[in-house]
């Protein structure tokens, strides 16, 4: 069940770690400080005591960089590393990750500016050839992921790999843990479906399981395209590895019923509670406005999505009922004893049969173009709302540090009058540390606010483009249907007139 090559992953992560330390000395010193305190039992505990929320909230986001004994968890990527292990748990706070990303952020945003000007974004990913591997309950679908690109980041211009669904979930999990909490809108992965997958595993080769596989294939393709369209995510090594590497360590913690999965659920619940208790003094009206805007958009998109889903359903019904009517009309034509009328009725049956196929095709367009667009955006908005929440949490953390600093200062003042030089020194040390923390907290808050502004702008541009492109495509499908209808009825009309 566990990964086949934990060493490989460890090596990778260690390499990552090294790059961090070398390139950025200033923030890394803080990180280094953290590392040194990590090996110090009690200090480390107090660190955690200070931020009880942090323990929960960041659980899915913290990277476990520890001695090789922790390999077992590393195979799941930067997924929760806490619960099963009792302290001392060497958990690097997100600052390391943050630092690492800062390096990317600063340089990459400049690159974005350049790219947006020149629009040299050229990458196309297709997900195809679903293939069942194995059988029984251990079976799974493998998809071919083909990338065509001229971007120099990649080793070749065209290449393909085989991936399974949990690989996609694993990728998303890694990206989410790295980027969500610092304000990047990470596209959500397609949803799991226990029912759908069970049918496939059991080997039902019927229409509904084929439809399920096609729906999933299409969703995976859209997911990857959205991910690589993001200039930061495109450059992420996990993304590159996903697209290029022929072997990928199995992402285990993505299983719905795994312990990691359960931990995620607990965290989500804790998050929800926390959100309710954070009251932020919003100094920036922009954020409040945007949050409200996304809230409204969410409500409306869900409503529209429901209506479109209903249309898909009724259009499919119409197709089935038209087919049944066609058969019935053919039978009626057979029993009609007036020859010309009999022939006309048979022709009517043929027309209706063609029309039922037309309705089926239109229902597919209704679904794959319109309905899935809306579904994708409803899910994307969850990610958007998520980054706003993370900003609140970042603010809260900063405020908590400030309050704690205040308390410590007061405590120190009191200690001045007692004869406990050791305790006084300790207090002074703690205060120095906290001052650093407060500064960092403020910087984090400013950074995430800045990132979110840019992300929202990018998101809105994408949204406008997506909706326009896809809805126009959808209208074109409607045009085609009408053109076909005209053809069919024009062919039938003389037949009807020929009845004598």
């Amino acid at each position: 069940m566990k990964s086949d090559s934990p060493l490989f992953l460890v090596a990778q992560d260690l390499t990552l770690f090294c790059i961090c330390v070398n390139v950025q000395s200033q923030p890394a010193s803080l990180a280094a400080e953290d590392i040194s305190t990590n090996s110090n039992g009690p200090k480390q505990d107090s660190l955690f005591d200070d931020d009880p929320e942090d323990l929960f909230a960041e659980a899915t986001e913290e990277v476990s960089l520890d001695s090789p004994e922790r390999d077992v968890l590393l195979s799941d990527g930067p997924s929760p590393a806490i619960t099963p292990i009792t302290p001392p748990t060497s958990v690097i706070t997100p600052r390391i990750g943050h630092t690492h990303d800062d390096m990317f952020t600063h340089s990459s945003f400049d690159e974005i500016e350049e790219e947006e000007g020149g629009d040299s974004f050229d990458i196309h990913i297709s997900v195809s050839d679903p293939e069942k591997v194995g059988d029984g309950m251990n079976a799974y679908m493998a998809y071919k992921v083909t990338t065509k690109t001229s971007i120099s980041l990649f080793k070749r211009n065209e290449f393909a790999v085989k991936r399974r669904f949990s690989d996609f979930l694993g990728l998303h999990s890694k990206l989410a843990s790295k980027y969500l909490h610092i304000g990047y809108i990470v596209p959500p992965a397609p949803e799991k479906s226990i029912v759908g997958m069970t049918k496939v595993k059991v080997g039902k080769e019927d229409q509904s399981s084929n439809e399920f596989v096609e729906k999933r294939r299409s969703a995976l393709e859209r997911y990857l395209m959205r991910t690589v369209k993001h200039p930061i995510l495109l450059k992420d090594p996990d993304v590159l590895q996903f697209l290029e590497s022929s072997e990928l360590p199995r992402a285990v913690s993505t299983q719905a019923l795994s312990s990691a999965g359960l931990l995620r659920m607990v965290n989500k619940a804790a998050d929800a509670v926390n959100k309710m208790t954070i009251k932020m003094n919003e100094s920036d009206a922009w954020f409040e406005e945007k949050q409200q805007h996304f809230e409204n958009l969410d409500v409306q998109l869900r409503k529209l999505h429901t209506s479109v889903e209903s249309l898909v359903c009724h259009r499919k019904e119409l197709s089935v009922n038209t087919a049944q009517f066609a058969k019935s009309a053919a039978m009626l034509g057979n029993s009609e004893d007036h020859t010309a009328l009999s022939r006309a009725l048979s022709q009517l049956a043929e027309v209706e049969e063609k029309i039922d196929q037309l309705h089926q095709d239109q229902a597919n367009a209704d679904f794959y173009l319109f309905s899935e667009l809306l579904g994708d955006y409803v899910r994307l908005l969850t990610a958007v709302k998520g980054v706003f929440d993370h900003r609140m949490k970042t603010w809260q953390k900063w405020q908590d540090s400030q309050m704690l600093l205040q308390k410590k200062r007061e405590a120190e003042a009191k200690l001045q009058f007692t004869n406990k030089p050791d305790k006084l020194q300790q207090a002074k040390d703690e205060i120095k540390e906290l001052e650093g923390k407060v500064q960092q907290g403020e910087r984090d808050f400013e950074q995430i606010s800045k990132t979110i502004r840019k992300e929202v702008s990018r998101f809105e541009k994408e949204r406008v483009k997506d909706f326009k492109t896809i809805i126009i495509k959808y209208l074109e499908s409607l045009v085609q249907t009408q053109q076909q209808l005209i053809k069919y009825w024009e062919a039938f009309l003389p037949e009807a007139k020929a009845i004598s």
Binding site: H293, N296, L297, Q300, L301, K303, L304, S307, V308, S310, L311, H314, R315, E317, L318, N321, T322, Q324, F325, K327, S328, A329, M331, L332, N334, S335, E336, D337, H338, A340, L341, A344, L345, L348, E460, R463, V464, F467, K468, I471, I472, L475, E476, L478, V479, Q482, Q483, L485, I486, W489, E490, F492, L493, A496, K497, I499, S500
Partner: protein
């Protein structure tokens, strides 16, 4: 013209003031009443004409129940809807009432025309009274006794029908007709049911498009990006196309579903005619047997002879008029199908072209702006 308030629901029926219509028949009275009159007509006819005439089937009772329910819901929900939603629903409801009413009018017209065209029925006094009496006709509904009679007649008919159907006819024409009608009736029944289902799905899809148009409108008014104009344009488009989709469903209903329903009843009436003829044949054969018996016993011979002659006469007369009726049935059927199928195809074409024009027009604008 239409009522503003919602309390006066039934006034939706005051359709006849909607404008001049070229009709052969003057429809002044309430639709409900006309159905009863046709019953009364056939009630009388059974006594007078049962032996040798096929009666045009009565037009169906118009079904406003669904619309009344919607109207009630509309009234109840008025407080919870926006003004646009309310106006929209009200318009929909009016359109539905109009469609049902048009259907009803068409069916009644057909019925009365058929009666007027029938060589025997047109002379009936009841019919003349119906057309000419310019005050309210007071038609009594069937009383309990008559209803019970009907019920038993139907039971006997079905039992008999099974017996009689088994008898093979000497006459080729009637034998063929029997086989044909049996199969045809069942297939028309199936086609009628399937066409209803198909049209129902079409209506449902049109309703969905209506809701989509509304949602897009709201999105358009809320959005702060380029998309707001885009959404509003698409919303407008869907508003128009869904009206066309609703019209398609209504036209299919009128030209296809109603046609099939009508010929379902017609073929049943034809089957009933064949049944009556078979009964007359059985009576005739029984009378023959009775005559033979009487002659053998040399008792009541004259009575048996008269009875036999009467049965023979009845049988021959019904056979003659039945043959004509069945030939007419075929002619009318072919003509009706031709007319309706041609009109159906023309309407489908008209609507598809309309839809296409709207879609292409909108696409032109949307693509031009991006």
């Amino acid at each position: 013209m239409m009522q503003e308030g919602l309390d006066d629901g039934p006034d939706f029926l005051s359709e006849e003031d909607r404008g001049p219509r070229a009709v052969n028949v003057d429809l002044q009275t309430d639709a409900m009443l006309q159905v009863d009159i046709s019953d009364a007509l056939s009630e009388r006819d059974k006594v007078k004409f049962t032996v040798h005439t096929k009666i045009p089937p009565a037009p169906p009772r118009p079904d406003f129940d669904a619309s009344r329910e919607k109207l009630q819901k509309l009234g109840e929900g008025e407080g919870s809807m926006t003004k646009e939603e309310f106006t929209k629903m009200k318009q929909e409801l009016e359109a539905e009432y109009l469609a049902i009413f048009k259907k009803t009018v068409a069916m009644h017209e057909v019925f009365l025309c058929r009666v007027a065209a029938h060589p025997v029925l047109r002379k009936d006094l009841n019919f003349h009274v119906f057309l000419e009496y310019n005050q309210d006709l007071s038609v009594r509904g069937k009383n309990k006794k008559e209803k019970l009679e009907d019920f038993f007649k139907n039971v006997v008919k079905s039992a008999d029908g099974v017996l009689v159907a088994g008898v093979k006819d000497v006459d080729d024409f009637f034998e063929h007709e029997k086989t044909f009608l049996l199969e045809y009736h069942n297939r028309v029944k199936d086609a009628s049911a399937k066409s209803d289902r198909m049209i129902r799905s079409h209506k449902n899809a049109a309703d969905d498009i209506n809701r989509i148009a509304s949602s897009l409108y709201t999105l358009g008014t809320q959005d702060s990006t380029d998309l707001c104009k885009f959404f509003l344009k698409v919303s407008e488009l869907f508003e128009k196309t869904r009206k066309i989709e609703a019209r398609i469903a209504a036209d299919e209903d009128l030209k296809l579903a109603d046609l099939l329903k009508y010929y379902l009843r017609e073929s049943q009436a034809a089957k009933d005619l064949l049944y009556r003829r078979s009964r007359a044949l059985v009576d005739y054969e029984n009378a023959n047997k009775a005559l033979d018996k009487a002659r053998a016993k040399n008792r009541d011979v004259l009575q048996a002879e008269t009875s036999q002659q009467l049965c023979c006469h009845k049988f021959e007369k019904i056979s003659e008029s039945a043959k004509q009726e069945l030939i007419d049935f075929k002619t009318r059927r072919v003509a009706a199908f031709r007319k309706n199928l041609v009109e159906l195809a023309e309407l489908e074409l008209k609507h598809a072209k309309g839809n296409l024009q709207l879609l292409q027009g909108c696409l032109g604008i949307l693509k031009g702006n991006t």
